[in-house]
């Protein structure tokens, strides 16, 4: 819940509702990006950005190297599979 998981924004879904499609370890999921857009960083420029996703919300922009490191850590902690499963199940619930 607290560690979050890195993902890359691949598509802007709804600019007004601030929803984007994020790819997390190959799994795609709609995520709210309200916390990482502001005047200096408009939603239109988001595709390709790496973000840290907590419970379906992108909470921070990170660089690709940080994303890779965090993913490796989560992998070692055995958290990745559980997180991806939860993401997929959540949308189907």
């Amino acid at each position: 819940m607290c560690l979050g998981i890195p993902g890359q924004i691949v598509e802007l879904v709804d600019e007004t509702k601030k929803l984007a499609l994020v790819s997390v370890g190959g799994v795609k999921r709609t995520v709210n990006v309200a916390c990482i857009v502001d005047d200096a960083h408009p939603a239109s420029g988001l595709v390709g950005t790496w973000v840290l996703v907590h419970v379906g919300f992108a909470m921070s922009r990170i660089d690709a190297a940080e994303a890779e490191k965090t993913l490796a850590l989560l992998e070692e902690l055995g958290e990745v599979q559980a997180e991806l499963q939860a993401m997929a199940d959540g949308e189907r619930a």
Binding site: C2, L3, H54, F57, M59, S60, E76, L77, A86, D89
Partner: protein
């Protein structure tokens, strides 16, 4: 130092361990009067166990595992309330997977589900709002859990529910805030913490300045840390360095993710939707003033406590369970009599054995052999003394 080999940069890790050792040696501490450093966040607890960081450190440093596991600090009475709401006819109860197995006095949410309650596991509050849209004939209740890392997500979801006129959506808020918690730990007479490893992702939301009082008023070092094993070691080195120099500062080791001011959008969302409760009960820590979040008046219609007339009754932990003492750092998990025997992650007696961020679960998963050996050693020591 055999564990260091597991690090992505073993040389750097070994150097940090050496640096910590040399610094601590100048402080005149001993294993019977160790330097106590608390990691506040459950994510750090998990990392510390996985990489065996405790075992690498000199015996005159003790890591105290703090209360930063939101599922663990939820008191039994609030779990009972959740079960009661979930069992109400016409309710669909949505919860994070972490919380579904936490035992209440009349069983867990999973038990309620087995008996026919409609309990669903969701990954995000957004999923629970989607459930409300899909099931207009049901009252959908989301179990809001967590510190400032997840509170903005709940708040933004409530704002979205309001904007789109969803009227069968409710939140049972058990959100908690970090600052009063740390203050309560600093004020606790039986805990003398010398310094802190601060939570990375909570700080990503609330910003660095908020912790000023820990250094200014209490004179304790506080280093906001990343979750990589090297981050944790480096942050420990920074805490020890401050202590050795007689300083107390708030430092940010996790600059890659944590900005000084935190996240303004997330702070605004919390501020708009929630206000502080006068007090909130925690497992193990008792009642802490201004530590819980509840709905502000304009959003009261989303408040499950009002909609379901919840009056929380405090309920004691199961008699064998010492989760409360574990959360305060007064005992280590293996000192609990049922640890690893009657209480395991598959059949948890207390909440600390449920979430992977809980200290009992983390000890069980990674540290059982070595720590029970330590327990033996400690018992022998007691006999000798």
């Amino acid at each position: 130092m055999k564990f260091v080999d597991e690090f992505r940069d073993p040389t750097h890790a070994a150097a940090l361990v050496r640096e910590i050792g040399e610094r601590v040696a100048t402080l005149g501490r001993s294993p019977s009067r160790p330097l106590k450093i608390m990691e506040v966040c459950g994510g750090h607890t998990h990392s510390i166990f996985k990489y065996g960081i405790e075992q690498m450190l000199p015996p005159s440093i003790e890591l105290v595992h703090g209360p930063g596991c939101p599922v663990c600090v939820l008191p039994v009475g609030r779990v009972d309330d959740a079960v009661k709401i979930a069992e109400t006819p016409g309710v669909l109860f949505a919860t994070y997977g972490d919380a579904i197995r936490v035992p209440g006095s009349r069983g867990s949410l999973l038990d309620a589900k087995a008996k026919g309650a409609d309990v669903r596991t969701v990954y995000s509050p957004l999923d629970s709002l989607a459930l409300a849209r899909k099931n207009p004939d049901k009252r959908v209740v989301f179990f809001g859990l967590g510190f400032e890392t997840t509170a903005p997500s709940t708040a933004l979801t409530v704002l979205e529910a309001e904007a789109s006129g969803v009227d069968n959506y409710f939140v049972f808020s058990n959100h908690i805030t970090i600052l009063p918690t740390i203050k309560a730990i600093l004020d606790a007479p039986d805990l003398s913490i010398d310094g802190f490893i601060g939570p990375g992702h909570v700080t990503m939301v609330i910003g660095v300045a908020a912790y000023g009082f820990i250094a200014d008023t209490y004179g304790k070092p506080f280093v906001i840390a990343g979750f990589e094993p090297l981050d944790v070691l480096q942050s420990l080195a920074m805490v020890v360095e401050q202590i050795a120099r007689g300083e107390a500062k708030i430092e940010n080791q996790y600059r890659r993710v944590v900005r000084e001011g935190g996240n303004a959008v997330a702070q605004d969302a919390i501020e708009r939707v929630f206000e502080l409760r006068p007090h909130f009960e925690w497992r193990g820590l008792g009642t802490i003033e201004h530590s819980g979040l509840t709905f502000r008046e304009p959003y009261a219609r989303f408040d499950a406590e009002k909609a379901f007339a919840i009056r929380t009754v405090p309920v004691a932990d199961p008699e064998q369970c010492q989760c409360g003492d574990v959360l305060k750092g007064v005992i280590k998990p293996w000192e609990c009599k049922v640890f690893g025997t009657a209480c395991t992650p598959a059949v948890p007696i207390g909440a600390c054995m449920v979430s992977s961020e809980g200290a009992c679960a983390a000890y069980y998963q990674y540290g059982r052999v070595s720590t029970s050996a330590r327990a033996e050693a400690r018992r022998e020591l007691k006999v000798v003394r």
